[in-house]
């Protein structure tokens, strides 16, 4: 840390570099410092992601129980897809995650608009409610919802978990949308209103049309929440036919002698969607936005 700052303070500062992007450009040292840091970060990164690399490697190794051979094999994948319910659980997970994303974005976008554009007591009260809800533990809400859903006959359905996910993603989703809409100048809308557009018109034609990054970050957030959840699935889903992947993965663990090859194959299947989403869309995902909107109100 100190090394970097030292380097930083010695870097020549020229006027051309003093814009907002200057941070990176200014911190330039000799080749040696650069390679030293490169090696450091390489080693640290490898250490950190070693468990994840292990998952991928183990999923392609033959299981000890069935054969003694070593080497690359896809037998584990063939096994979990043909002999177990993994395909069904994958389908369940996708349905639940997509339903959550669609409803969350559709509801949070207009709500975020109100939060961003309107300044009055009602809206500050609304924003306070969001803040309080965010700090409530899921467990408190889950127990009553479990009872309510039993009365309604909703437990053990994919709908039940999707509804709970929508509820738990809502407050953050609204904040994220509000934070993004804050960055769209209101003057654009004012111009449209001058020409007789309604608020609904300016919302759909100006704000939504320019909000793709905001919508994508909200969608990614909701998707990850739904895809990665374990607690809700653990409580609400008892029947193997409605398991989502996290709950399904548990069935692979045995008391003794877990078949690590199959477990890791399912684990790889589970982590592919989030990793792909991030690899392609990570530039749309800014956590700073959430924090900023939280503190700004």
């Amino acid at each position: 840390m100190s090394q970097i700052l030292h380097a930083d303070s010695q870097a020549p500062v020229t006027l051309g570099r003093l814009d907002s992007k200057s941070g990176k450009a200014d911190i330039s040292t000799g080749q040696r410092g650069k390679w030293w840091r490169f090696l450091l970060i390489l080693v640290v990164t490898l250490l950190i992601i070693a468990p994840i690399i292990a998952v991928v490697v183990l999923s392609t190794q033959p299981s000890q129980s069935t054969s003694s051979a070593t080497g690359f094999t896809l037998a584990n994948y063939v096994f979990v897809f043909t002999q177990t319910d993994v395909l069904l659980w994958l389908q369940n997970s996708i349905i639940v995650a997509l339903a959550t994303v669609i409803v969350a974005v559709a509801v949070a976008a207009p709500a975020g608009y109100v939060l961003s554009r309107v300044r009055n007591r009602l809206v500050s009260g609304y924003s306070l409610i969001l803040f309080v809800i965010q700090s409530l533990p899921v467990v408190t809400a889950v127990i009553p919802l479990f009872i309510t859903f039993s009365v309604l006959g909703l437990t053990n359905t994919l709908a039940s978990v999707a509804i709970v996910y929508i509820g738990s993603t809502m407050s953050v989703a609204i904040w994220m949308m509000a934070a993004y809409i804050d960055s769209i100048p209101i003057s654009l809308e004012e111009a449209a209103w001058m020409d007789g557009a309604s608020v609904f018109g300016s919302f759909t034609r100006i704000v939504m049309r320019n909000s793709l990054p905001g919508i994508l970050s909200t969608a990614i957030f909701s998707f990850l929440l739904a895809w990665n959840d374990y607690l809700i699935a653990l409580i609400f889903l008892q029947d193997q036919s409605v398991y989502t992947l996290p709950k399904g993965l548990e069935t692979f663990f045995q008391q003794n002698a877990t078949d690590w090859g199959s477990v890791m194959a399912v684990a790889v299947v589970m982590m592919i969607p989030p990793v792909i989403v991030f690899a392609f869309l990570n530039k749309y995902f800014s956590v700073g936005g959430i924090g900023g909107s939280l503190a700004g109100r």
Binding site: S2, I4, H6, A7, D8, S9, V13, S20, S22, D26, I27, T29, I41, I49, I52, A54, V107, A108, P110, A111, L136, P137, T140, A141, I143, L145, F146, S150, I163, I166, G167, M170, S171, S187, E190, A191, W193, M194, S198, F200, F203, R209, W227, N228, Y230, L249, E250, V263, A267, M271, P274, V275, A279, N282, S286, V287, G288, G291, L294, A295
Partner: protein, 327 residues
């Protein structure tokens, strides 16, 4: 996006605001009219906010009120509110006088402190390192986010594999250093260390992202000024960098505190709260009471006490942010 801007520009040009909308705006009349449109459309705005409000009330507020009612009753997860006995604050008394609760509270505190500051230190360190010019900078950024992106069920599986049996990689590694039979899941202290390290491992990418965003907004001019004044690198760090990112740091701490206290799967998937309840946090205890012992009243009472403390901590930190903002 560009199409819309072009259309806007045209409209503004037509109104004579400036050529292609670039000229000086005439704010006052337009602004007032704009506000009126927004002010007059309260119907639309209500319709915008209503669905979210209904969902928030039904899925967040109603359950919490219901849960509070349950915490005053002696019920199981399958009893309806009017079927259960009303016991008043008895559950709270039971909880607050049980040693199990205090043991869990203590570990929750440790887990949260290690989780928040551990992930902050690692995240900030990596954010500082990644801010410098390094080959394949972006690749590292994405790779380092992996622990946070990968589903918790997957990462706990990986960590489980690392420590599950004496033949697993970590115990074998320890035996090379003369420490035989290291049983991470069987020894209370080791299990506690394991879940704390696991939590830091999961959470640091979040801190790294928050701190990277904060560092990017620090004006590099200030560093130059500090250099001229003869500050060394540590002084620059504590005197300039830390204060300049303090607002983001407080926000990150608040969020991470909430994440840590409310974190159920990290612990449950790795140790189930064991061995001998050593890694049971309040939320795990609440789950165990509500769904394993079927004492919903006690479970919700624990959750409520936990929430009250959490809200208190959030409010204190939130005030701190406001203070920083004013300064």
């Amino acid at each position: 996006m560009t199409a819309t801007n072009a259309v806007e520009g045209l409209k503004r040009a037509r109104r004579g605001v400036g050529v292609a909308g670039r000229g000086p705006a005439t704010p006052s009349p337009r602004g007032r009219q704009g506000r009126t449109t927004l002010g007059r459309s309260w119907g639309t705005l209500t319709a915008f906010a209503l669905p979210s409000l209904i969902l928030l009330v039904l899925l967040n507020l109603f359950p919490v009120i219901y849960a509070f009612l349950q915490s005053l009753q002696n019920g199981t997860p399958s009893t309806l509110p009017w079927e259960a006995d009303f016991v008043g604050l008895q559950n709270y008394v039971t909880v607050l006088t049980s040693p199990q609760f205090w043991q869990a509270a203590e570990f929750t505190l440790v887990f949260t402190i290690v989780g928040v500051f551990g992930s902050w230190i690692v995240g900030l360190g990596l954010a500082l390192l990644l801010r410098t010019r390094i080959p394949a900078n972006t690749v590292f950024k994405v790779l380092l986010l992996l622990p946070w992106i990968v589903p918790i069920v997957v990462s706990s599986t990986a960590w489980n594999w690392l420590v599950a049996t004496p033949q697993s990689p970590l115990p074998v590694l320890f035996s090379w250093f003369g420490l035989d039979n290291v049983n991470f899941l069987g020894d209370p202290l080791l299990a506690q260390i394991l879940v704390c390290v696991f939590k830091v491992w999961i959470s640091f990418p979040f801190m790294m992202m928050m701190m990277s965003a904060a560092l990017a907004s620090v004006d590099t001019n200030v560093y130059e000024a500090a250099r001229v004044d003869g500050a060394n690198s540590w002084q620059t760090f504590t005197g300039i960098t830390l204060p300049m990112i303090s607002r983001s740091t407080y926000i990150a701490w608040i969020l991470m505190t909430i994440f840590c206290v409310n974190d159920f799967p990290t612990i449950f998937l790795l140790t189930q709260g064991g061995p001998v309840n050593a890694t049971t946090t309040l939320i795990v205890l609440a789950y165990q009471y509500a769904f394993q012992n079927l004492q919903t009243g006690i479970g919700t009472a624990i959750a409520f006490i936990m929430t009250a403390v959490l809200v208190l901590i959030s409010v204190v930190l939130y005030r701190q942010i406001k203070k920083v903002n004013i300064e």
